[in-house]
């Protein structure tokens, strides 16, 4: 069976492995090498460490608070929206997901509008001169944004739980509270810890929120951003990056090690609808009340973004205005086009590579698959901004970075400073999403299918295209939608690598916000969210067109059968 096809798979495996090492492992290692080796060892202990220690404390403080709050709200909302029956539940299930389609710091726009120095509530209504900037602001904003992430994971767990253990517990006489604490909750621990870990990582990696509303209170990630953009001190940034990397890496692998379960994008939802029949009214109202509060916060964010987008000058002149819209259509349209181009390309390529890689790792007996899996997953544990620094220090030199050693006399900028680099970093950063989706799907695929096709005479190429490719399509679709939205809203990884000619919308919003043009920022955030929404809807139609056509056909048959 040493055929040409198996040669192609081998070649693909070798090439993808090499490029993954090159575009994932090398940049991360580079940060360490650059931060630790490029001189000034004595400065480290005297000046740099106390400074980093302060930011580290801030980062951890924020991240721990946010992790507890966001995960609790995520859990609370999951239970309420999927286990308690009340009016308006369906609507809330949709509304709660809204933050997923917008950049993570969009909420801060609304926050500043309401509680800022010239905020509607603090300034105009209460006439206060207080500043909301600092620790509380960061924790509030991150908690609201990340509770959605936690909710997404935990609710998927609660929806696919097996009912029978709960029924057994009830049958053995356990009261509802006991059932929840001893059965339901322990069964969801893997998803809860995954959610907590992701919230922790995202909070650690978020530099935009502290920059916008942190005031004097800055974190490791935001300091890193300032080091590069303000001072262009790459070495200092690299050292900061190392200290940012350590807790993130630790959190990721501790979670992975202890719960032993990776992020699973399960499509399986338990067919049996479970609802708590006898909940004490007090508990029920508390659950609904807290979840409503959370949903109201989310809805308010968007409501005020819409209002702010059409207001002449927030805080001073509240007249209706199309000024911001006109401005953006005239000046910033290109950045939206770039965002969509980037997101579609990255979504397509990285999902395809990821699913292919999952297929190869699971079915072919190639060497070093475990190690490759680890390297591919590394970006999940790495803050985007750190990977960005890695690209910055690695690819400053000609010939994709190799030139530093081979051709020291060459022009210093080659890959860095081209449009391709932001595509590369996003593609390689998200390959693991497609890979995990592929793994999850392949667990449900009967391993004998391939053998059956081979047995009927199919070649390795035909086995792949006739059998595995169609079966893996759902994994590709899921990864594509996720990678598309992630890329649309990502900032950290690409913020240092963008050029004026390929600026993207998220970066524009961020820049406008740091210069306090609230109305323009609100309008851009609104447009970006709408754009994501429109594209997501279009892709849903495109990816599921067969199913939709089938439904339409069935519907028509049904109608014509009614006529008869």
């Amino acid at each position: 069976m040493q055929s040409r096809q198996s040669f192609i798979f081998k070649l693909f495996y070798i090439l993808i492995s090499l490029t993954i090492i090159y575009f994932v492992l090398l940049p991360i290692v580079s940060v360490f090498v650059y931060g630790l080796l490029s001189g000034s060892g004595t400065d480290l202990s005297n000046q740099i460490l106390p400074r980093i220690w302060k930011y580290m404390k801030n980062s951890l403080q924020v991240a721990l608070f946010v992790t507890v709050i966001a995960t609790s709200f995520g859990l609370l909302a999951s239970i309420t929206l999927w286990r308690v029956n009340f009016w308006g539940r369906k609507l809330m299930q949709v509304l709660v997901l809204m933050p997923l389609i917008s950049p993570p710091f969009v909420g801060t726009v609304a926050f500043i509008m309401l509680f800022g120095k010239r905020g509607l509530i603090t300034h105009s209504l209460l006439g206060l001169e207080i500043s909301p900037y600092g620790f509380h602001g960061i924790v509030t904003m991150q908690s609201i944004g990340l509770a959605t992430l936690a909710y997404l994971l935990i609710s998927s767990a609660i929806r696919k739980t097996d009912v029978s253990p709960e029924e057994a517990a009830r049958n053995l006489g356990a009261p509802e509270k006991k059932v929840f604490l001893t059965i339901t909750l322990p069964l969801m621990i893997p998803e809860i810890t995954v959610a907590a870990m992701l919230v922790f990582l995202t909070s650690m990696a978020d530099f935009a929120t502290p920059i916008i509303i942190g005031g004097a209170y800055q974190t490791l990630a935001s300091d890193l951003y300032i080091q590069i953009t303000g001072l262009y001190n790459v070495q200092m940034a690299s050292i900061t990056g190392i200290f940012l990397f350590i807790p993130c890496f630790a959190a990721f692998f501790i979670q992975r090690h202890y719960s032993g379960k990776n992020l699973v994008y399960s499509q399986y939802v338990s067919p049996e609808r479970i609802e708590y029949q006898q909940v004490k009214p007090v508990v029920k109202f508390m659950l609904i009340g807290l979840s409503s509060l959370f949903v109201i916060f989310v809805v308010f964010q968007y409501a005020f973004i819409v209002i702010g987008a059409f207001t002449e000058h927030w805080g001073y002149n509240y007249a209706f205005s199309l000024r911001h819209l006109e401005n953006i259509l005239n000046k910033n349209l290109a950045s939206f086009v770039n965002s969509v181009k980037l997101a579609v390309t990255v979504g397509f390529i990285s999902s395809l590579l990821g699913v292919l890689l999952a297929y190869i790792i699971k079915t072919k007996d190639y060497p070093l698959t475990r190690q490759l899996d680890l390297v591919v997953t590394l970006p999940a544990a790495t803050p985007g901004i750190l990977l960005g620094i890695g690209y910055l220090v690695t690819f400053r030199y000609p010939l994709l970075g190799i030139g530093k050693y081979v051709l020291p006399g060459f022009e210093p900028v080659i890959l860095l400073g081209t449009g391709i680099i932001i595509y590369l970093i996003c593609i390689y950063r998200y390959i693991y999403i497609g890979m995990k989706a592929g793994y999850a799907l392949m667990e449900h695929v009967n391993p004998n299918l391939e053998l059956a096709a081979i047995n009927l005479g199919a070649s390795e190429r035909r086995v792949f295209f006739d059998i595995m490719f169609p079966l893996l399509k759902p994994a590709f679709n899921a990864a594509f939608l996720k990678n598309f939205t992630s890329t649309m809203t990502t900032l950290g990884a690409i913020v240092f690598l963008l050029l004026p000619k390929n600026k993207v919308a998220v970066q524009q919003i961020f820049q406008i916000m740091t210069s306090s043009e609230i109305g323009a920022a609100a309008m851009m955030a609104l447009l970006l969210s709408l754009l994501s929404l429109v594209f997501l809807a279009a892709f849903q139609l495109l990816l599921n067109y067969e199913e939709i056509f089938k439904r339409l056909r069935e519907g028509r048959q049904w109608v014509s059968s009614l006529r008869k």
């Binding site: 009967n446 004998n448 059956a452 096709a453 047995n455």
Partner: protein, 351 residues
């Protein structure tokens, strides 16, 4: 097409899955590979199909060595345990898959699919999705998909183990009927003794990768070569014999005492444990029986009642036909009388 397996050994790492297997399968014959899970029967089957690389030995088809042929070229269609139907294709597409691979003309494919669906008694289901079929229907589509490419041999990997009892019986009759009609050389892997006996021309019993016995179904049942085969082929009463053959004297069947050499393998190693074998149907319960024991338990499954009898410290299982009308009374702890019919050969088996 006759198939010969010569000295086949297969390993998974250090684990020997199949150990020096030799077997000749006649043209048009149906062989059952019978054994408990992990005995190497499926490994052997997949080796024949070429789905596992051959570690050692050779496979001959009509005296031609096919050991190194790729699975695609072996023309050995397989019916898988979980059917392995392609879930994203319709029934017709599943069945047509092998024909398309072999570049059959579309009109011919259509005709062949229709024909084969008639044969497996699923006419008109061409456009159904696999998920819309019952287990029995899926099983028949899997059979059709294998049959339609007109294979030189058919390989079955426990094809009926996911079906309920009644369906299993009717499906195994259908498989046997089609196999005999088209005279396709077939190998049928199963762990079910009843299925193996009813479907095959000959049975190969395997344990721990080693072929224990090859023979006609009746041969293997009546003259098992060792204790394992005896116990695997239905219920067996095995009474351990000591040096003095105490049990034989007790059962007053003295003629067996001299026939120690009847025991296959027994002559080579006298220290090996030996057992007197008889089946429950050899035990005749009745008031006129020569022996007496105590009832330990009994169960009636309809046509037959099984009684476990304590006889001088040995447990003997007896079968009573038509218990309710027999007038026999089984009460746990009560005495019961019985006879043992030890006619025929080979009643002493080694461990």
């Amino acid at each position: 097409m006759g198939i010969e397996l010569k000295e086949i050994t297969q390993k998974y790492g250090d684990l020997i899955a199949v150990n020096n297997a030799n077997l000749f399968i006649e043209d048009g014959e149906m062989i059952a590979l019978l054994g408990p899970s992990g005995c190497g029967k499926t490994t052997l089957l997949k080796t024949i199909a070429g789905l596992l690389p051959l570690h050692q030995g050779s496979i001959l088809s009509n005296e031609k060595d096919i050991s190194n042929l790729p699975p695609q070229a072996r023309n050995a269609a397989m019916v898988f345990q979980n059917y392995a139907l392609f879930p994203h294709m319709t029934v017709a597409e599943n069945i047509a898959y092998g024909l398309k691979i072999n570049k059959c003309a579309p009109s011919l494919i259509k005709k062949k699919v229709e024909e084969i669906l008639d044969i497996v008694e699923l006419p008109g289901l061409n456009q159904r999705k696999i998920s819309e079929l019952s287990g029995g229907q899926q099983q028949r589509v899997a059979l059709a998909r294998a049959l339609v490419i007109e294979p030189a041999m058919l390989l079955f990997d426990e094809p009926l183990s996911n079906l309920d009892q009644n369906l299993r019986v009717s499906m195994r009759r259908m498989i046997r009927k089609i196999q005999q009609e088209y005279r396709i050389t077939s190998i049928y892997v199963t762990h079910d003794q009843e299925e193996a006996m009813s479907i095959s021309d000959r049975i190969v019993v395997m344990k721990d990768g080693v072929i224990q016995q090859i023979g006609l179904p009746g041969e293997v049942y009546l003259n098992p070569r060792n204790r394992f085969v005896a116990e695997f082929m239905g219920t067996a009463n095995l009474l351990e014999l000591n040096e003095d053959d105490e049990i034989i004297q007790l059962l007053e069947c003295g003629r067996w005492a001299s026939s120690r050499d009847n025991c296959p393998g027994g002559e080579s190693n006298n220290r090996q444990k030996r057992y007197l074998l008889f089946r429950p149907e050899d035990v005749e319960v009745g008031a006129e029986g020569n022996f007496e024991g105590t009832v330990i338990w009994h169960e009636t499954i309809g046509s037959v009642t099984r009684v476990s009898i304590d006889f001088a410290g040995n447990e003997i299982i007896a079968e009573i036909r038509n218990y309710y009308k027999s007038g026999i009374n089984c009460t746990i702890g009560e005495k019961i009388r019985f006879n043992i019919d030890l006619a025929g050969d080979g009643h002493i088996v080694p461990d």
